[in-house]
């Protein structure tokens, strides 16, 4: 090969133009998403900030825009997150431990279980809503209450918690288990004292992200009968609404002020979501291990 081919131009030059064009295209794709999101955020913040006050946080909804707040919805959302935490974590982590540590993967039923959990994570949330209506509200006779809403959210995010917990458990190197067994630990001791503590950061991160998804869910809650107008504090076995539904309700009102209140409520929802995500990222960085 002659030294000439090292010179600029020729095939190399054309390749460079293509490379630059491709990079521009990628930037443009990024830009579309970024600009849209940015415009939405700016719009919401400009409209919502003036209404982001104690009235919004502590008042119940009202026909008068000056007095209207979202307290029952915010409280119901917090209650549901609390219930979700105590239902989804033990069931999800328990399932993940069974599938990773105990299940014999050569058995067909374990493989079937595995496959179906992956599928469940992709089922549209409205389908969970129908399940909740048929099974929890009517079948078990719970009625259209907050507990039914929380339980259906549990089922909705359970596959996500299982999948992320399994990944966290699988990431614990086998040498740790072997080291435990070699010291005369039982399987229970190895899992409880070595595998789980090492997997907790991953499990926590995945679970928080799953909760963050549940917070924004609207469709299944509407199906299990979340009301749009609740002017009193929610109870476990009473009628309820949730923050996204409250936002929807305010936007669909004719008066223009309510749209601004909705914008303020969106900021509250975003703030809760971002706080949870930030906490998940902090956890991951704080406890990240290198093997």
């Amino acid at each position: 090969m002659s030294v000439d081919s090292l010179r600029l131009g020729g095939r190399g030059g054309r390749g460079r133009v293509r490379g630059v064009a491709f990079q521009a295209l990628l930037l443009a794709s990024l830009g579309i998403g970024f600009v849209t999101l940015g415009a939405l955020l700016v719009d919401v913040f400009v409209k919502g900030i003036p209404y982001l006050d104690a009235t919004l946080l502590f008042n119940p909804p009202s026909a008068s825009p000056q007095e209207a707040g979202a307290r029952p919805a915010i409280l119901a959302t917090i209650y549901m997150m609390g219930i979700l935490l105590v239902t989804v974590l033990p069931i999800g982590v328990g399932t993940a431990i069974y599938l990773e540590e105990y299940a014999d993967k050569s058995r067909w039923y374990n493989r079937l279980l595995d496959l179906n959990i992956q599928n469940l994570a992709a089922v549209p949330s409205i389908v969970y809503g129908i399940l909740g209506l048929a099974f929890l509200v009517r079948g078990l006779g719970l009625g259209r209450v907050l507990l039914a809403g929380a339980l259906i959210l549990t089922l909705l995010v359970l596959p996500i918690v299982i999948v992320s917990s399994r990944e966290a458990i699988r990431a614990v190197p086998d040498s740790i288990r072997q080291g435990g067994y070699a010291l005369g630990a039982t399987q229970w001791q190895v899992i409880w004292r070595q595998v789980l503590p090492a997997a907790i950061p991953g499990i926590a991160t995945g679970s928080i992200l799953a909760l963050a998804r549940a917070i924004g869910e609207t469709a299944p809650l509407i199906l299990v009968g979340a009301l749009t107008y609740v002017a009193f504090n929610p109870t476990l076995m009473g009628p309820f609404t949730a923050l996204p539904i409250q936002i929807f309700q305010y936007i669909s009102r004719p008066q223009a002020e309510f749209k601004l209140i909705a914008a303020a409520a969106i900021i509250v929802l975003l703030a809760i979501l971002l706080t949870m995500n930030a906490f998940a990222i902090w956890l991951r960085n704080r406890y990240q291990r290198r093997w």
Binding site: S175, I176, G179, G180, Y181, R193
Partner: protein, 281 residues
């Protein structure tokens, strides 16, 4: 024909080998032991004895089944799906594979150190204390931890940072930590599966010195692919090899088992001689 390297090897092997350890009590009596993974035979009918408070080394080329073999002594092969062990391993006369034997109990008496140091992602103290804690030995835990670290010649290096993560130690320190961890439950035997192969020469020497110290109190079985190491530390040496059948299946076999000095100077099998003189493997 002997090479220069081999002359050194036999010299090393002949130093410090005055005593005949085969007259000592037998800790393990292995009879017709074979291991198969999912039907494929990995190790073919082995017989040998491991003697008390001596170092017994298993050497041989890759794939000869020496690591598989050492994992039979504390039933670690039980954890491998599809592994089937046949034959007997008598430990002080009790068959480790008997119906009434609990593998967890076996591992409490027979400790193991792995090829790659595998400290738990916990503090140095908690690493050592793990064994005693799972066995319910909670009294005098601090003393027990100190004693184990002393015996593993690690105490002076870590005594001021017992609460720090074990993952911050160097590779050689981590491996001595793993030895200390095994010692903390007062085992009768320690199995070492290539304990120094991931370490630098200085760390390796420290581990070997440690073995000389420890064999006064415990029986040591070591797998190594380093013949110099076997010559330096072992009283008894077993040479394993691979037999390849006509259809390409590879099976590990025990070729020769004898005093280390004999294996490295006047082996009785041609295959052993080829291996230790460097003409094979």
């Amino acid at each position: 024909m002997t090479t220069i390297a081999h002359e050194q090897l036999s010299e090393i092997a002949q130093q410090h080998r005055d005593e005949d350890v085969s007259r000592r009590a037998t800790v393990f009596e292995v009879r017709d032991l074979a291991v198969a993974y999912s039907g494929a035979v990995a190790l073919h009918e082995v017989q040998l004895q491991v003697y008390e408070k001596a170092v017994t080394a298993f050497i041989g080329p890759s794939g000869c089944g020496k690591s598989t073999f050492i994992r039979c002594f504390n039933r670690m092969n039980d954890l491998v799906p599809g592994a089937v062990v046949t034959g007997d391993v008598l430990y002080h006369g009790v068959d480790l594979y008997g119906d009434e034997v609990d593998p967890v109990e076996v591992r409490r008496r027979i400790g193991m150190v792995f090829q790659k140091p595998n400290p738990f992602p916990k503090s140095i103290y908690d690493n050592i204390a793990f064994g005693p804690r799972v066995l319910g030995l909670k009294d005098g835990l601090d003393d027990r931890v100190e004693e184990a670290l002393q015996r593993a010649a690690l105490w002076d290096e870590v005594k001021d940072r017992l609460k720090e993560s074990a993952l911050g130690l160097s590779g050689g320190q981590q491996q001595r930590l793993c030895i200390a961890r095994a010692l903390a439950v007062d085992p009768d035997v320690i199995l070492m599966d290539e304990p120094a192969s991931a370490l630098d020469p200085i760390s390796t020497t420290r581990i070997e010195d440690l073995m000389h110290e420890l064999k006064r109190e415990v029986t040591i079985v070591i797998v190594t692919h380093n013949m110099q190491q076997a010559a330096r530390v072992a009283d008894m040496t077993a040479f394993f090899s691979v037999e390849v059948s006509d259809d390409g299946k590879r099976t590990g076999i025990l070729v020769e088992y004898d005093k280390t000095a004999k294996i490295f100077t006047t082996p009785s099998d041609q295959r052993t001689e080829d291996y230790v003189t460097g003409r094979f493997g």
